[in-house]
Amino acid sequence: MALQESMREDSTIILMGEDVGLYGGAYGVTKGMIEEFGEKRILDTPISEEGIVGCAVGSAMTGLRPVVELMYVDFVMLAMDQLANQAAKIRYMFGGQISVPMVMRAQGGTGRSGAAQHSQSLEAWMMHTPGLNLAMPATVTDAYVLLKHALKLSDPVVFLEHKMLYTLKGELNKDDSLSWGQAAILRSGSDFTLITYSRMVHRALEAAERLTKLGIQAEVIDLRTLYPLDTETINSSVKKTGRALVVTEDCLTAGVSAELSARIMEGAFEFLEEPVLRLAGEDIPIPVSPSLEKEAVPSVDRIFSTAKLLLRK
């Protein structure tokens, strides 16, 4: 809806990707758009990830605002040069002369037995690349407001959705007052801070609810964007609670959780009563078996039990 509204307002926005047109998107996200906007603005592309992301970069450099969709974030490896070496660096290398106002949308994460090449969480790669913005919405409102905002920026935005959130129902608040780059405190609490984003937000909230029965009050922070990263909200909360649990679906080693815990250590060291705990995806490729897949990423139960460990309960 955000994309449709933005396209109605801004005629330079075009959408390109594999099966985004006649098919309507692998997950139905772009259904009906080709009927409304036509083939000039909704471009079904061949399966050429490097070519189409490069084409998006070039069109963004010359007056358009392309939204390029990768069906799965796992396919970004084929386009990584265009994303990391080109889109992210063009403004800088050329001394600020040329902007690349493009949005690269993709979806990732586990939950559908997509196995090792259709289930990954690769946000750490994007976060490790100066020049990119990175949005990872968890709620209906975030998906809407963040995409609308992304389509106004002058720099490339990687917009990563979670495949298990497409069926999520929620109330849309179009007038959401949070700004781009600002984290949301979804639940206030005084015992520990639970920092997370994307699909794990929902698991964190569920675990937090269960923890109240033990008398533990978690403060839950949804980061919404990983670049810009709202270190201030994270650290003010940790300074208050003295304990932090970072939950991410991406794998542990050199993952987003590593950066987040380093930020907390730098910004709230004196306030920490316990080490920062990281509950992340295991350091393994994602297996296809539903039971194995489930255990590859943090569950509500494990967030719950890890929080108890953190509180020494």
Binding site: P46, S59, L64, M93, F94, G95, G96, Q97, N133
Partner: protein
């Protein structure tokens, strides 16, 4: 002087400007005035840069490769600002952030030199898409070397350009070498124009010895390109010098190099001008003198240009007004002094 002679003299002048510029880059390197030694000179490839460059129109977009100084000059670059950029100086085209391999100028349509082999090719497909979508009478040209002919992205780009009927031209400047690997050791088939044809892209291969041929053929192709019929042009040249400044070309015989250097498009045109009595020796000397002065000035300008201020390293990562990256020292300070 008739128009054809005027064109010949212009082509000669432009090619000589390219060569003299490149020679001065070599000198600037020896004087310690360049940022590093990753300088890839296009000496021997002037006819491709100038022949195609002159066939383009003002407003046409283009991307180049790591050996692209000549193309940018042919498209109207100011040698002073180029030389300063090659020196990593504040007065350069990219304020000292891009250098030889990432020089660009939006005003002249230069969408960037690229240091990833084939990295800028798909950008002209995007530029072509913009021109088509916005209804502009502009075309986009990708310049690259024979090394990029073995990169997959080129073929994805050709397919997209042909599929969407975009005003895009692909120009392969074949200098026989991908760094130290001769083309016949990198590609089983050397019939590159045929490859383009299979994608529905008009393919043409020409000898780069005669710049007028390159110019006229490129002009014809560009006309078709503007009508949405993408083209591929391979210009055969020879790289007179090593890959980069420190390369002494130990991988090829001296005899081969000597023979390769006979393929000198500047000398070829000079002889043509003299033999046809189209110019006098004095005229040519005058042109050479003017160009020498112009490039000497450019080199001096680069040497005297200032270094960028330290704080600039954090600028232009994101658009003005966006938060700039937090310096490492600042992170350390915050950690120790909460």
């Amino acid at each position: 002087m008739d128009t054809e002679t005027q064109i010949l003299i212009r082509l000669f002048r432009q090619m000589l400007r390219v060569r003299t510029f490149e020679e001065r880059v070599g000198e600037l390197f020896l004087k310690g005035g360049t940022a590093g030694s990753m300088l890839h000179l296009s000496i021997g490839e002037e006819s491709a840069a100038v022949g195609v460059g002159e066939a383009m129109h003002s407003g046409d977009g283009f991307t180049t490769h790591h050996r692209g100084h000549g193309i940018f000059l042919a498209r109207g670059a100011d040698p002073k600002k180029m030389m300063a950029e090659i020196g990593g100086k504040e007065d350069g085209y990219c304020r000292g952030k891009g250098g030889s391999m990432h020089i660009a100028d939006n005003d002249l349509g230069h969408l960037g030199a690229n240091a990833i082999v084939g990295g800028g090719i798909s950008h002209v497909v995007g530029a072509g898409l913009s021109y088509q979508y916005l209804g502009k009478d502009q075309a986009a040209v990708a310049f690259f070397g024979d090394g990029a002919m073995q990169q997959g992205g080129l073929y994805e780009s050709m397919n997209l350009a042909a599929l969407w009927k975009l005003p895009v031209m692909f120009v392969c400047i074949n200098n026989e070498y991908g760094m130290g690997t001769r083309l016949d050791r990198a590609s089983a088939s050397l019939e590159f124009a045929k490859r383009a044809e299979t994608f529905g892209v008009n393919g043409l291969e020409i000898d780069g010895l005669d710049v007028t041929q390159v110019y006229h053929k490129a002009q014809k192709l560009m006309e078709r390109v503007r009508n949405g019929s993408p083209a591929f042009l391979k210009v055969n040249c020879y790289r007179f010098h090593g890959h980069a400044r420190k390369d002494k070309s130990h991988y090829r015989e001296d005899s081969e190099e000597q023979k390769g250097r006979e393929k000198d498009s500047i000398l070829h045109l000079e002889n043509q001008l003299i033999e046809g009595s189209l110019v006098t020796t004095e005229n040519l000397e005058q042109i050479k003198l003017e160009i020498d002065n112009e490039m000497d000035e450019a080199m001096e300008y680069a040497l005297n240009s200032t270094e960028p201020e330290s704080i600039q390293r954090f600028q232009d990562v994101y658009a003005p007004g966006s938060p700039e990256p937090l310096p490492v020292d600042e992170r350390i300070r915050q950690a120790l002094n909460p």
